[in-house]
């Protein structure tokens, strides 16, 4: 009985040692991956901030104004003027399709008696 207990304990110790060994290496692997990912995140952030700066630089009002002037022939862009405001009721609704009367009935000449 005792021998069995010893053997089981020894096996447990072996098993745990192996598990700890493996766990140690997977942890290291995960940490390495994390570090790699964080480096990538950092690089991506840096790139993002550069791109944002570049976007702001390309969208600077002076440049847009110059582009609008250069491409005036094609785009015809001018600064917004007060008279360009419109009202919703100034927009014409699309005309409804005309109803098709095939057998018209003239009601204006109907007498009361002929009314069903």
């Amino acid at each position: 009985m005792k021998t069995l207990l010893y053997m089981v304990t020894a096996l447990c110790v072996f098993g745990l040692a192996f598990w700890a060994y493996r766990e140690n290496y997977t942890t290291r692997q995960v940490l390495k991956e994390t570090r790699q990912l964080q480096r990538e995140i950092g690089a991506a952030r840096e790139r993002l901030s550069v791109l944002k700066a570049e976007w702001a630089y390309l969208n600077r009002p002076s440049r847009l104004r110059e582009l609008a002037e250069l491409n005036y022939d094609r785009l015809g862009l001018l600064p917004l003027r007060p008279d360009q405001f419109g009202r919703v009721d100034e927009v014409a609704y699309p005309q409804p399709a005309a109803l098709n009367f095939s057998n018209g009935l003239d009601v204006s000449t109907m007498t009361r008696e002929s009314y069903p």
Partner: protein
């Protein structure tokens, strides 16, 4: 263990035979046994103490070693969790009210040299001068071949320049990373943003510190690593600011002015939507401050909107009229004696033209009569005038959040006499910045509450201290509207926007005392739409001069007012203000009977 008997039979028998007391043997043995037990107990206790001691020693050793490691090790970012990755920038961005970038950071490199490691200093110096023509070759050679171990060559270089220097291939030329401040919009809002420079510099990094404007005012906020991802949001609107700068620049050139400034402010929140001061500069390449002897207002760094403290002339008249109406001294139709000149001691107050002997208050403002305003000021009195202007913030630097605003301290008369009160009533004798004026007009525009001009985006109206009643403010607005529709500022009329405002033309003071004859500061302070104002616009031109109708003209009605009109026309649609056609005046119906 073999237990020693207390009464060993052999010894007892022997003792009995010899006539001794056998109890003595027992006592002797008992004593020995007790001694033995005591030794054992002591040994065990000592053993336990030893174990305990070793345990404590180990515990202290572990703690000590850990502390030693902690204090001696290099700090490292924890990698096991990702909370640390929010620290992205060295300095927070600055954005406009819509979140468009006004200032951000950019990764560049600095260039330095370690001459002892250089292989061929002379060729390297030659090639460096080719890449950077502004470097002094003689100085470089001296630095490279002398005793120096370390030389800064350039603080900021572009990636192309870096590649070119890399191609020289000298191991003594080294690069360090540098985060620099970038203003992608160039000159836009230069005076508000200010600029940034390097503080403490090392090879691997350099401190970026604000040197002017909001960069300096909010330096602590911007540098706080906790705010790295939270940009500073200003109240400025990039589009409006760009349009205002363009219009004002055109106006300044057209009116032959040497400087100009404009302020557009929300009357409820106090948010400054655009503030322009011309001439301006590029904050990416901030010019040097002017030499101490020069006139600071010549430098492009001078922010006319907050630092340009001048007498702003007749624009102040509306404050006098508003106060008198608020005190119940006059109503809009009270007739004021305007016979001139008004003499006070050896001083005489005159009008631009003779407007007749008497006029109602509204007409005094519309025609801009100095005499009429001075008479109203006499009724108000010195104390009440000073108190009122104080509540409008005219006696202190504006709380506008850029460092330069603290320098815009109003110039008060050394002794606020009755004569001062009379001249201040029409804007002479008290010098303020255009920003003060904008805040004062905002109080009239929003129905009588003082609002602090602010450069930060606000979430709602300020609801500041009440300085005049709603009715007074409404009456004052009516007068300002009439100034534009039928008075001195007719050029400021913009169809659909009901501009109300007041012109002001003040002679420029000479530095050595007295006033120039032919140099003026022309100001037009306005609000639109006048019946329910949303924005206040102040336009000031420095030394404008145009020829119109065969005459040289400098008055604000001819110079600042048309510029302001153009600006309203351009900006109001951008602000989403829809023009409203005013109902035409009803034809007068004459009742007749025969």
């Amino acid at each position: 263990m073999i237990r020693t008997p207390l009464r060993p039979l052999a010894r007892i028998l022997q003792a009995r035979a010899q006539g001794q007391n056998p109890d003595a043997i027992e006592r002797e043995n008992l004593r020995l046994r007790h001694e033995e037990m005591a030794v054992k107990a002591r040994q065990r206790a000592e053993g336990r103490l030893l174990v305990l001691g070793v345990f404590f020693l180990c515990a202290y050793a572990v703690i000590g070693v850990r502390m030693g490691i902690l204090s001696a090790s290099e700090p490292a970012e924890p990698v096991a969790y990702t909370a640390g990755s929010t620290i992205a920038n060295q300095r927070a961005d600055i954005v406009d009210r819509e979140g468009r970038i006004l200032a951000t950071n950019f990764e560049t490199h600095s260039l330095y040299a370690q001459p002892p490691q250089m292989v061929d200093p002379i060729t390297a110096a030659d090639k460096l001068v080719e890449i950077f023509p502004d470097l002094d070759k003689g100085r470089l050679l001296k630095d490279f071949t002398g005793k120096r171990k370390f030389v800064w060559i350039k603080k900021k270089i572009s990636p192309e320049q870096k590649q070119a220097v890399h191609d020289i291939g000298d191991p003594g030329l080294l690069f360090g990373p540098r985060e620099m401040r970038l203003y992608p919009n160039g000159r836009l809002a230069a005076h508000v943003l200010g600029g940034a420079g390097f503080g403490n510099e090392g090879v691997n990094a350099a401190e970026v510190i604000g040197v002017a404007g909001v960069e300096k005012q909010f330096d602590a906020y911007l540098r706080d690593p906790a705010n790295g991802a939270k940009p500073l949001q200003l109240s400025l609107d990039l589009t409006v600011q760009a349009a205002a700068e363009q219009v004002l620049y055109g106006g300044m050139k057209l009116m032959n002015a040497k400087g100009a400034t404009s302020i557009l402010m929300d009357v409820e929140t106090g948010e400054v939507i655009s503030v322009v001061s011309l001439p301006d500069f590029d904050p990416n390449n901030r010019p040097r401050p002017p030499a101490s002897g020069d006139d600071p207002s010549v430098s492009p760094l001078f922010n006319r909107a907050v630092q340009g403290v001048y007498e702003l002339g007749s624009t102040f008249k509306i404050f006098t009229a508003a106060q008198a109406m608020d005190l119940g001294l006059v109503g809009p139709d009270t007739v004021i004696d305007t016979r001139g000149p008004l003499r006070w001691g050896r001083f005489a107050i005159r009008d631009f033209r003779n407007y007749g002997n008497e006029m109602p208050v509204t007409k005094v403002i519309v025609k801009s009569s100095n005499i009429g305003t001075a008479r109203i000021a006499q009724e108000i009195g010195v104390e009440r005038q000073r108190d009122f202007l104080g509540r409008l913030g005219m006696l202190e630097p504006t709380p506008f959040e850029i460092v330069e605003a603290g320098g815009g301290k109003p110039l008060l008369p050394p002794h606020w006499s009755e004569l001062s009160a009379m001249t201040i009533s029409y804007g002479h004798g008290l010098s303020t910045s255009p920003m003060h004026l904008a805040a004062g007009y905002a109080a009239i525009a929003n129905g009588g509450r003082y609002v602090k001009p602010t450069v930060l985006k606000q979430s709602g109206p300020q609801m500041g201290e009440r300085v005049m009643s709603e009715d007074t403010a409404a009456a004052a607005r009516m007068m300002l509207r009439k100034v534009v529709s039928e008075g001195t500022a007719s050029f400021a009329e913009v169809p659909g926007y009901k501009v109300g405002g007041k012109t002001g033309t003040a002679d420029k003071p000479k530095p050595q005392g007295g006033y120039y004859e032919d140099k003026v500061i022309a100001t037009f302070a306005s609000m639109f739409p006048a019946d329910d104002p949303e924005y206040v616009l102040v336009v000031t031109l420095d030394e404008p001069e145009i020829i119109a109708h065969g005459e040289e003209r400098r008055t604000a009605g001819w110079t600042a007012a048309p510029v302001a009109a153009e600006m309203v026309q351009r900006i109001a649609p951008l602000l989403g203000l829809r023009p409203h056609v005013e109902p035409a005046q009803l034809a007068g119906i004459t009742l007749t009977s025969n």
